[in-house]
């Protein structure tokens, strides 16, 4: 393999092409720097591109993301590797980092694919569609989602039966199973870590019955049901296909909860739940939506007004954390909680429950840095060396952090943090160390 390693150099390496990484890359490129943007997923845009609408403006997430994404993908200063991983980053000296990047085979020649989807039609295999959060299936030959960028097919080699049907129908003959992983050795002047966050997995909270009770969903699953490219084309209970009319949001699922190891507030769940509640009131005019909360944290610009607006629309807000959920025979769910206002234990029946899952650190990022250690904070987010005056500095000089890799934040804050990281990266490059 050693002979096949390609070498190249850029001014900056940005790890993660979510909204923060994308913004940071654009800022750098717009100021004349060359950027390598590496994304482990098949499409850029991170979690945001999969959202329905965004608070508090209710802009459609895709409509904000796609112009950015297309600007990123067309920018002559930005090279994007999707389906790729940064294996190792070593700091050789100031303004001189060496990174090992592996591009996993997509088994489709990107330049030749016209996204005609004939391969997808032809493929006989159906597996869970991770981009629809497993609510429906997808083929083993597939385009990740309709607004994916690049909008190019890929083969899910784990599940492919290598029947060759896709190859037969492909008009441009762009499917190629002989592809091998490509390795790149890249030298860069600075690195921006924008590896984002993980969502809390509610399987770790068995008392909420997620996984066992099919009508208990995570907020991200609901987000997909509400998105323009939604899986059911309407909102249905995954348990039996019923249109729900009494929905509940369980806030602080996996946040502010020491028993699951996450004592901090995830900062976004209150607002995205309020947003989803508003969208649900629009999509299902007859439905009741109740939000069970400990404290509503609508702290940002326009957030409090957005919360008031939801109350005005008739969303119920009940102060009390849900203790446990049980399922009835008809698939409805009984939620047990203490209504703090009434100082009383209550049980409420809902036909669909959405767990507003919190933000957890993404542990992958730190381990790729060799030599100098990229320090994490005590919550396992990327540590900020000087959080007040230099919020994007990390323990390694010349490595900067953008977005939720350093802690929970909403989209505007992620974008500002990306601006901050790119700004510091630029002055680091100009200063020469």
């Amino acid at each position: 393999m050693a002979d096949n390693i390609k070498t190249s150099s850029y001014d900056a390496l940005v790890i993660g092409a979510g909204i923060a990484g994308g913004e940071a890359a654009l800022n750098l490129a717009n100021n004349g720097y060359s950027v390598l943007l590496v994304e482990k997923d098949l499409s850029v845009g991170g979690k945001m591109i999969l959202l329905s609408k965004v608070f508090p403006t209710l802009d459609c997430a895709a409509c904000i993301t796609t112009p950015k994404v297309s600007e990123i993908s067309r920018h002559p200063g930005i090279t994007i590797y999707t389906g790729s991983e940064v294996r190792r980053v070593v700091k050789k000296s100031e303004n001189n980092f060496e990174a090992e990047v592996v591009k996993h085979p997509r088994y489709v020649i990107e330049d030749d694919c016209t996204a005609c989807q004939l391969c997808e039609q032809a493929c006989p295999v159906v597996v869970k569609d991770q981009y629809q959060y497993n609510l429906v299936g997808r083929k083993a030959a597939f385009i990740p989602f309709s607004i994916a960028s690049p909008r190019v097919a890929a083969i899910d080699i784990e599940n492919c039966t290598l029947c060759g049907a896709c190859e037969k129908v492909c008009p441009t003959k762009c499917i190629d199973f002989t592809m091998e992983p490509e390795e790149f050795l890249v030298s860069v002047g600075t690195v921006i870590v924008a590896t984002g966050f993980r969502l809390f997995d509610p399987l770790n909270m068995p008392r909420y019955g997620y996984g066992e009770y099919k009508n208990v969903l995570t907020s991200m699953e609901m987000e997909r049901q509400l998105a323009p490219t939604r899986p059911f084309n309407t909102i249905l209970r995954p348990g039996d296909g019923k249109m729900p009319d009494k929905l509940a949001y369980v806030l602080c699922t996996g946040s502010r909860d020491a028993t699951v190891g996450n004592p901090i507030c995830s900062q976004i769940c209150c607002m995205y739940s309020i947003k989803q509640a508003q969208l649900l009131m629009g999509a299902l005019p007859m439905a009741d939506v109740t939000i069970y909360y400990i404290n509503i944290r609508s702290f940002g610009k326009g957030f409090e007004e957005f919360y008031e607006q939801a109350k005005g629309m008739g969303v119920n807000f009940i102060k009390g954390k849900i203790g446990k959920i049980t399922e009835k025979e008809n698939g409805n769910l009984v939620l047990r909680y203490e209504d703090i206002n009434e100082n009383r234990l209550r049980e409420a029946e809902h036909d669909m429950v959405i767990l507003s899952v919190g933000v957890l650190p993404n542990p992958d990022a730190a381990s790729i840095f060799q030599g100098e250690e990229l320090k994490l904070d005590h919550l396992n987010f990327i540590g900020q060396a000087r959080p007040l005056a230099n919020p994007s500095e990390t323990s390694i000089k010349g490595v900067f952090v953008a977005g939720t890799a350093s802690g929970p934040m909403d989209i505007p804050d992620s974008i500002l943090s990306a601006g901050s990281a790119s700004s510091e990266a630029m002055s680091y490059l100009i200063r020469k160390g």
Binding site: E120, Q121, P124, V125, V126, V127, K128, L135, V136, G137, R138, K139, A140, E158, N159, C160, T161, L162, C163, G164, C166, E167, K168, C170, K173, I175, D176, F177, T178, K214, P231, F232, N233, T234, L236, R237, P238, G239, D240, G241, K242, M243, D245, M286, G331
Partner: protein, 93 residues
């Protein structure tokens, strides 16, 4: 290794690494379920609850596979019932 012919490369990889049992099983399962759902719908429109009963398949599995068939254009959504609760589904002509 000889160069695989363009458009027939799947064979190359099949020879090289084979296909996992899991992937095969998964394909068989889907093919079987798809057939059973499509056969059931040949008899007429059905709701998910009805399909679930007829095929003795848990509701959530019916939702998953049926919606996948809707997504790939083999089944289409019909009318919603009077209670505005369940849609019925039919074969796409």
């Amino acid at each position: 290794m000889e160069e695989a012919e363009k458009g027939k490369t799947s064979r190359y990889l099949r020879d090289k690494k084979g296909v996992s049992e899991e992937a095969r099983e998964n394909l068989k399962k889907f093919t079987r379920i798809r057939k059973s759902i499509l056969d059931a719908l040949k008899e007429g429109e059905m709701t998910i609850a009805q399909l679930s009963q007829k095929l003795s398949m848990p509701g959530h599995e019916v939702v998953f596979y049926l919606m996948t068939l809707v997504k790939y254009g083999q089944v289409q959504t019909g009318e919603i019932d009077d209670m505005d609760e369940y849609y019925s589904y039919k074969l796409k002509k």
